[in-house]
Subunit: 71 residues, 2 copies
């Protein structure tokens, strides 16, 4: 099985709770198999079974209360 | 009914999630009827039916992951 990894920059996260909020929303996107997120760097790395829709990731992060951009 | 209000200074909160975590733990203390907490100022104000045990409040804040001191 191949996987695809996509990186985003998230602004506004300040702590582990923020990371958890982003993780929870992004993990609900179909096909997502892995998430790495850091409040310290703002980096969000999403691993999926196949290329995921940037808009879906950005919308999920927005739902969590933060802003993401493909990096 | 009389109430008593006690103020604490909490260090380490950075966002609304942190405030919620503190609020959740402190609200579990018997007798607590009101909580005001601000990540911006670190101020935690606890209202209770009768004087509350500082140690209980400090322990609850510790449980949430932060440090409090009576102010």
């Amino acid at each position: 099985m191949s996987t695809t990894t996509t990186e985003y920059q998230v602004t506004g996260m300040s702590c582990g709770h923020c990371e958890s909020a982003v993780r929870e929303e992004v993990s609900a996107i179909p096909g997502v198999t892995g998430i790495d997120v850091s409040a310290a760097t703002g980096r969000l790395t999403v691993t999926a079974e196949q290329p995921i829709d940037d808009a879906a990731v950005i919308a999920a992060v927005d739902e969590a209360g933060y802003e993401a951009a493909r990096s």
